[in-house]
Assembly symmetry: C2
Homo-oligomer: 309 residues x 2
Amino acid sequence: MVVFGAIEAGGTKFVCAVGTGPADLRARTEFPTTLPQETIARAVGWLKEQGQHAPLAAVGIGSFGPIDVNTASPWYGFITTTPKAGWRNTDLVGPIRRALGVRVAFDTDVNAAALGEQTWGAAKGLSTFVYITVGTGIGGGGLVEGRLMHGALHPEMGHMRIAHDWRADPFPGLCPFHGDCWEGLASGPAIAARWGRQPEELPPDHPAWPLEARYLALGVANLVCALSPQRIILGGGVMRQAGLLPLIRQMTLELLNGYIQVEAIVQHIDQYIVPPRLGDNAGVLGAMALAIGAHRRAAAPGGRLGDLL
Amino acid sequence: MVVFGAIEAGGTKFVCAVGTGPADLRARTEFPTTLPQETIARAVGWLKEQGQHAPLAAVGIGSFGPIDVNTASPWYGFITTTPKAGWRNTDLVGPIRRALGVRVAFDTDVNAAALGEQTWGAAKGLSTFVYITVGTGIGGGGLVEGRLMHGALHPEMGHMRIAHDWRADPFPGLCPFHGDCWEGLASGPAIAARWGRQPEELPPDHPAWPLEARYLALGVANLVCALSPQRIILGGGVMRQAGLLPLIRQMTLELLNGYIQVEAIVQHIDQYIVPPRLGDNAGVLGAMALAIGAHRRAAAPGGRLGDLL
């Protein structure tokens, strides 16, 4: 039986794993994201070691971004314009493929997580849905009619502008590019900067949470209008705050105000806006799903990912 | 040679045509949208008459909405929660299919227009792009990785919330559901209500236009972040104002502020945000493209629309 390698390349930490899915996660490790050369060498070293037990058929990488996922581009496999120190224009796929000598699948961390949730988690059987993570930043990915979203680059959902009532919230936003975009207003660091305390230190009845829910609902409602997803999965560290998800559901319904008469939204909002089901392993299992998909596509060219996984 | 029927079902007028494409548009007619029974009968009567010259292989309908495009739904083919008087819960596909006895393809007016532009117009060769119309309302559709966007229902892009600076623009918006959503702030009727004059009566140097460009750019930039389209096509009556499109391009670049480093956007904005190429026939030709697609899919089941058209 074949085994797959997976790398969740995050801005804070790298998570690596080998296996064939959540029920067969043979090994897992994580370490902090330091400088590229050191971090990549560590991931490669660990995967090589694991590969001695059972050869890896393919490796999947779900990466923080922006990244270049256009296979025809000279920068395919690179992390591109990231503000993260030392990581701008870093070739991630090249050195890993050369060192391990296997097929490498590459996508955004959020597209990978979306694929993982579709394969084993909260989006089973769905063809059009969105996966959002709210943490150090806000990122979003997903599938539309069964295809991972790419287009000109890949979605950068966290950088949508949302309605910002300056009277109610004079905080100017933290995004170095856009100030008060979605991420600039509602990421974990934005909460910390606005209230002077880390999100996890703010009690459940703090006014931070209704405001946060309002901002997250504004982004979610916009994605409902732009994409018509069958479900929206909300993950990431900020979503660990109990009580936030029910507030977001309620405010999203209020914002949509009955215009979009879809039973899945209007009648079943609790199953429409949901947490990820793969928990802390969503990212690395998503990367594994990427690897499995690439391996099977290579075995059956022309096949669709959805048919094969 | 086979011939196709097409209906652009608009809230103001119906446009019908028969032919095989823009170079072979054999007949075309238009008439005002009155009550459903009368309007549908007129479309059916005209298509029946045309079918006597050359039998119709299929008919495509691109309709105002919201509509039900889920073929498994009991309301498939219906116009559903429209505020348009008399048209709520109207079966459009049923009576047309029964009267004409042919295969009927059905989608939103904007998805149809997007397909028409991909087949013969401004989106040739693209797999991920958006078509927006700015007129009586704001509507948007498109394709993602070669598939028409549907999901839970279909996109309702005009109902995204955008940043509304109440100090600069105290106009509360016109949308009966959302007030100051994108359509509520930037549709033709919103311009008319805000300034007390019809858009076409406002001179090019009127402050209405920079504000309109700002609102349209806010929506366009959000769609770039949400969907990563390879191109955005902006049509509809409001876009006839000369000078509006260049302003929107410039403001979209300012809003994105270099974050999304895609050459197609940063270097070639003039080819990134473009007018439709099929002009006034975009809608009805799009409906024809739907009919052609349905006909060919029926001939080659399992084939993809993009392979077949």
